[in-house]
């Protein structure tokens, strides 16, 4: 259960709409299923009351939507940002991807979002409704009359188990209390992969990436992937429109993408959340983050606007490339 309620958010949005601070609201609305929440733009209080949703499945990071929505919306746009979303928000500002003046950001507390795969593992398939309003999550399936009661902690998404920060690094207004940056265990999984032999590691990624169907969901959701024209759509880039025709191609897409977002990825985890094949894509990005931290000192993309990512910065203290190579040779 989230500490802040749907009604509080609607009330806040409605008052900002009423006093003219914002002209539209970027929020969540129900999709086909209760757990299938989609982002939407709301223009009126009535629309909010009818369709706005806030529960344990509102994982979507709205930062990226601001790139296109700020260009379309007249006046300011209200966006609700969870702590982790604020990092992407700042990173996009660093890259000048939207006009800060056109956004009214409201920071909201988050108790962690649920992973539907974990819910299904407990409750089974055929979920007809999920009620997150009580202490426990009530999951009703088409097979049973009585709902399965699940403790939200047991179904937290991996990125929320390893939440890196409850601190909002950007907002115009904060609802509820701000938290702290958390010393998470998010690199443990990366360390495990690093400990593998090169052959084991290759087999691990071969196994994971061979499931890729090139649906591009990871790219389309990624707040670091906001290029006007993606290299994978650019006929002159020589990597355009490749389908996972062979084992090299299926890996190439993800490796190129990981390199493209390296140093800019805030580790929001959206790529893994949306992957229909459940590929742990965030691990590729985390490996980059871990390496950047150990080579150049701790750096969190999006922690502040305008920070210079180590990969596009140069200081005389930088590690010599030879040393990077030696450390990587394990």
């Amino acid at each position: 259960m989230q500490k802040i309620t749907r009604d509080q958010l609607i009330e806040k949005a409605a008052s900002l709409l009423a006093n003219g601070t914002v002209s539209c609201v970027l929020g969540w609305q129900k999709g086909e299923f209760d757990y299938d929440i989609t982002p939407a733009v709301f223009d009126t209080e009535d629309e909010l009351k009818a369709n706005f949703v806030w529960n344990d499945f509102c994982g979507a990071n709205f930062s990226k939507y601001l790139v296109s929505k700020t260009k379309k919306c007249e006046g300011k746009i209200l966006v609700f940002l969870k702590a982790c979303d604020t990092y992407s928000f700042n990173q996009l500002l660093t890259e000048h991807r939207f006009d800060r003046e056109k956004v009214y950001a409201v920071g909201i507390p988050c108790e962690g979002m649920a992973d539907i795969a974990k819910v299904k593992a407990i409750a089974g398939d055929g979920i007809s409704s999920i009620d997150c309003s009580g202490e426990k999550m009530a999951v009703t399936t088409i097979y049973e009359d009585a709902p399965v009661m699940i403790d939200a902690k047991d179904v937290l998404a991996e990125r929320c188990v390893n939440c890196k920060s409850k601190k909002h690094v950007a907002y115009d207004e904060l609802m509820g209390e701000d938290g702290d940056v958390i010393d998470s265990a998010r690199f443990d999984e990366v360390a495990k992969i690093e400990a593998m032999t090169p052959d084991e590691r290759f087999a691990f990624w071969q196994n994971e990436l061979s499931r890729c169907i090139r649906c591009n969901a990871c790219r389309d959701i990624c707040p670091a992937c906001t290029c006007e024209k993606c290299v994978f759509d650019n006929p002159n880039s020589s990597v355009e429109n490749k389908s996972p025709a062979n084992s090299f191609e299926e890996k190439m897409f993800h490796i190129i993408r990981a390199f493209h977002v390296a140093g800019r990825c805030t580790d929001c985890g959206e790529c893994s959340r949306v992957c229909p094949q459940h590929i742990p894509l965030h691990l590729l990005n985390r490996k980059f983050i871990k390496d950047i931290d150990s080579f150049y000192g701790d750096y969190q993309a999006g922690a502040e606007v305008g920070s210079r990512a180590p990969l596009v910065n140069y200081t005389t203290d930088d590690l010599e490339p030879g040393e990077v190579f030696e450390r990587g040779d394990n």
């Binding site: 890259e95 000048h96 991807r97 006007e228 024209k229 650019n234 002159n236 493209h260 596009v312 005389t316």
Partner: protein, 664 residues
Amino acid sequence: MQRIGVFVCWCGSNIAGTVDVQAVSDALKNEPGVVFSTNYQYMCSQAGQNMIKDAVAEHKLTGIVVCSCSPRMHEATFRKTAAAAGINPYMVEIANIREQCSWVHKDMVTGTEKAIILGKAAVAKVNLNTPLTPGESPVTKRALVIGGGIAGIQTALDIADAGFPVDIVEKKPTIGGKMAQLDKTFPTLDCAACILTPKMVDVAQNDKIRIFSYSEVTDVKGFVGNFDVTIKKHARYVKEDICTGCGACTEKCPMKKVPNEFNLGMDNRSAIYIPFAQAVPKVATIDPNYCNMLKNGKCGVCSKVCAAGAIDYKQQDEFIEEKYGAIVVATGFNPISMDKFDEFAYNQSKDVITSLEFERLTNAAGPTAGKLLRPSDLKHPHTIVFVQCVGSRCDACAEKGKEYCSKICCMYTAKHAMLTRDKYPDTDVYVFYIDVRTPGKNFDEFYRRAVEEYGVHYIKGMVGKVTPEGDKLKVQASDLLANKQLHIDADLVVLAAAIEPDKSARPLATMLTASMDTNDFFTEAHPKLRPVESPTAGVFLSGACQGPKDIPETVSQAGAAASKVIGLLAKDKLTGNPCVASSNELMCNGCSTCERVCPYGAITYENKEFRMPDRTTAIRRIAVVNPAVCQGCGCCTVACPSGAMDLRGFANSQIIAEVDAICK
């Protein structure tokens, strides 16, 4: 579609010896776009160039591939040939089948196979080449010399003599460098100060030369002809333009226990000091690490005794920004630290000294007023052992010392030995050497005089250990020619420490984007043919920053660097390089990544109105490259996340085409 001509050069037997040139020209004949292919003994010769011109006319060529030596050798030659034949010079590509092929292969079959592959890659690239036109940029007619030793001084004097303004930046409070610390100079034995200080005075009096002493370069932007340099002038707490250099403050300063770096810490100076009598500028400097007034606000004596009122305890570091057309690096050298050479007991005994310390001990302005006295008890030493190659010519694996020969030690040790025997005939002088290396005018004669006329004992062999015992230094050494162990009770041991580039050179090289070798010596553009130019245009090298050098060599290199600078500054305009970055504004995100990685500050941003695919208009931020400032390094093209940034002449598509051709 291009009409490409392929010209395979034999380079005499340099290429043809290991590459079947006929097979190469035959194989490349069938590549896409190739309409003509031939080979010839010397493509760069007049006859070879005429062959290219004729082929352009006859076959209506639009592109040229020359399979020959490195583009650094003859790319310019063939571009001119192309221009003379009426096609754009940037439609020429060189396949390097000499340095990267024939010279590294012994086997004709593999050499030929690789030459064909390299040729195919070049053809694949030319197919995507487009004609390019270079722009022009103006030249700032002012030079910067970094380092005020004899190298910097000579370079600055020569440039100023040609009428161009020069600034010298020296990190010490005075110019003069290492030469000012020397006593006599080989092989003529004239006194270093007598020949150096007139030049220092010339510098001070030359109205074309400005000296920024106690200063360092902190930032360099721009490019050949247009460098923007930031110079940090450290606060010396004395107003330079008011101080008369009378020295009253240095006499009255109560803090007199400051190790004197000019005498290598062998005596003390005051906290406010003038490094030596002939310092230029002759201005006092307060050492903030020792001055009581600066440290805890108590004292102020110098301010009271200064008749001119030059003391300013509140002085701040000053940053000066200046534009230069050319930069000369003259950062010089230092003896290496003796910390890793425990066997010579340098840190255990005051009587084990380095050769530079020996210079100060024999110098009239030194700590002993020129009398050769040993530092520990100020007694006259009767047995002196000189050890050569301390840290020079070391084993690469030894992790101490340097692999290279420091070049100057043989001669200055002969000088020290000779002068000692000349002044103090009652002294026994031993010199331990690996080899005695004395190439140079009058050098060997000089060394032989030390041995034959002055009776210096030259012993081939190394000193294994020096052990202080009582007031003696027990020296264990081997005499390789007599094949026996020697034990000498010495009073003084002098170590000919290897020399290394000054520590300031590495960060400076980074600022200048000038390359260095593994020993941190600056690399020259060509070791034989361009020895005073760095590979970075507009950056020149003078003196020991480029490699170990004695004074005559340093002065000649300084003059050579000056002549190169003068040649550059004499031009009104420089023709630019058309191979610069450009951004495809339709794809640019305006994310600023390219601006951050650009070492030259060539990228700016503007907001531009775009018609979007959905027929709306939007203002978008896009990158704009200033082609006069861009040096075509390509950093931005790899950093650009969307691939909007591309390099003319080296487009991503061209490079991928080359890679594809090689991997096919």
